[in-house]
């Protein structure tokens, strides 16, 4: 089937920052994204798990955006401003999408 090149950006970030991140994405013109729940993880700031949380303070989510390649830089700049001082990970990979008119 007909597919189109796109970029898939995956941002793992603290839940408390989610709305700030999606606001920043919107400002950068990115209106399509999907938010996945995260059960736990480990990184430089140690390991954590959702069942160890009494507060929403340290839970995380994963925000996945699929965008046209030419929009990547705008997105990364918008996202970076938010994640910069926070824990979390940003990764980018290539993908192909159906129904490219949606992106």
């Amino acid at each position: 089937m007909q597919t189109h090149r796109a970029k898939r950006v995956e941002i793992t970030i603290e839940s408390v920052m989610q709305s700030r991140l999606t606001d920043a994405l919107s400002k950068a013109g990115v209106t399509g994204y999907t938010v996945l729940p995260v059960l736990g993880g480990s990184g430089r700031s140690g390991a954590w798990s959702r069942s160890g949380q009494v507060s929403r303070a340290s839970g995380m989510v994963q925000v996945v955006c699929i965008i046209r390649p030419e929009r990547l830089d705008d997105l990364l700049e918008g996202a970076f401003a938010v994640v910069e001082r926070h824990i979390g990970v940003v990764s980018v990979s290539d993908c192909d999408v159906l129904r490219a008119e949606r992106f």
């Binding site: 959702r50 069942s51 949380q53 303070a57 340290s58």
Partner: protein, 327 residues
């Protein structure tokens, strides 16, 4: 003193405390016992709703007097003031960085509603009355501490802070616990004894049992925190976690005396001042002071101060308030 010991003893073998201890023990033994996040959140919604509602009903029953407004004000002042005390103490006692010290301090100005709930349940079973509006005071004390702490950082010229923006301010003031507590307080006030009669077999009778399960979960979480974060607590930091609630309770006692609160109200004011936040404040700190170390403040507040207040603090504050009023 005798009375204090017997009260502490009694308190320690109540199902509520033992459930907390079970949770801590299970965690430390690395059992996989856990309460699903959604259920724990459901239990906390129940507790907030019930405690707020009952507070409102009690205000409807006894009417409000002039002290309501003053007590709220006292709460705001206490919440803003206590972080300054905590910060000074931390800088003197420990080698904590300015940023971490401010973040920890914010927690001690704010409050732990479960500690408050546990205290009311001790007062209830001893038949000690307290002002219904104390839950409103609790709500008023949640947020001001955060502003104090951010001010401490800004004053230090900390570029570690993003400061307060309006979005954060709204999030803090309208965080779920505050809204639910205050909202159900007003609902209880508006519907009064009739409203309570309609739902008392939901919010009154099973209350203590729900509190048991919730404290089981708190124990599990606190234990996990201690297991993972315990090593970063140097003795001085640990000492702070026990000393600060005592100091806070004394300051709270002063305010309560000035306000002329009842026996039970005084105990609750001490409890609020002594307790440290582990929900609203950590969330705000992650946004506003992301460089501050979360293990530090979470382990201290949840792993040290919360258990201390629950087991020894509450009976102590109750005994002192009774001694004060000759009760």
């Amino acid at each position: 003193m005798d009375q204090l010991l017997s009260l502490a003893g009694q308190n320690l073998i109540s199902p509520i405390i033992l459930c907390f201890v079970l949770g801590v023990a299970a965690s430390l033994a690395r059992s996989d016992l856990s309460i699903p996040e959604a259920v724990a959140k459901g239990l906390s919604i129940y507790l907030l709703f019930a405690i707020g509602f009952k507070g409102g009903v009690s205000v409807a029953a006894h009417g409000i007097d002039a002290t309501l407004g003053l007590a709220l004000l006292a709460g705001v002042v206490l919440s803003a003031l206590l972080p300054l005390v905590a910060f000074a103490l931390l800088r003197v006692m420990t080698q904590m960085s300015r940023l971490d010290a401010a973040a920890v301090a914010a927690h001690y100005g704010s409050i732990s509603i479960v500690t408050f709930v546990a205290a009311t349940s001790v007062l209830d079973s001893r038949g000690v009355a307290y002002e219904g509006y104390m839950v409103a005071v609790a709500a008023a004390m949640e947020a001001p501490a955060i502003l104090s702490a951010l001010w401490l950082v800004a004053k230090g010229g900390g570029d570690g802070t993003k400061g307060m923006d309006s979005a954060l301010l709204r999030e803090i003031m309208l965080n779920g616990s505050i809204v639910l507590l205050v909202g159900s307080f007003f609902i209880g006030w508006a519907t009064g004894e009739d409203g309570l009669a309609e739902i008392s077999s939901f919010i009154v009778s099973p209350f203590k049992g729900v509190l048991c399960l919730f404290l089981l979960d708190m124990g599990l979480v606190a234990g996990r925190g201690l297991r993972e974060g315990g090593k970063i607590l140097r003795p001085a930091v640990l000492a702070f976690g026990v000393l600060m609630p005592l100091i806070g309770s004394v300051i709270g006692l002063g305010f309560a005396l000035a306000l002329g609160l009842s026996n039970g109200g005084m105990a609750l004011m001490m409890v609020l001042s002594a307790s440290a936040s582990y929900i609203a404040v950590p969330a705000a700190m992650r946004v506003a002071l992301p460089e501050a170390n979360p293990s530090l403040y979470l382990t201290l507040s949840l792993g040290v101060t919360f258990p201390f207040n629950l087991t020894l603090g509450i009976p102590l504050y109750v005994a002192v308030s009774q001694a004060m009023t000759g009760g």
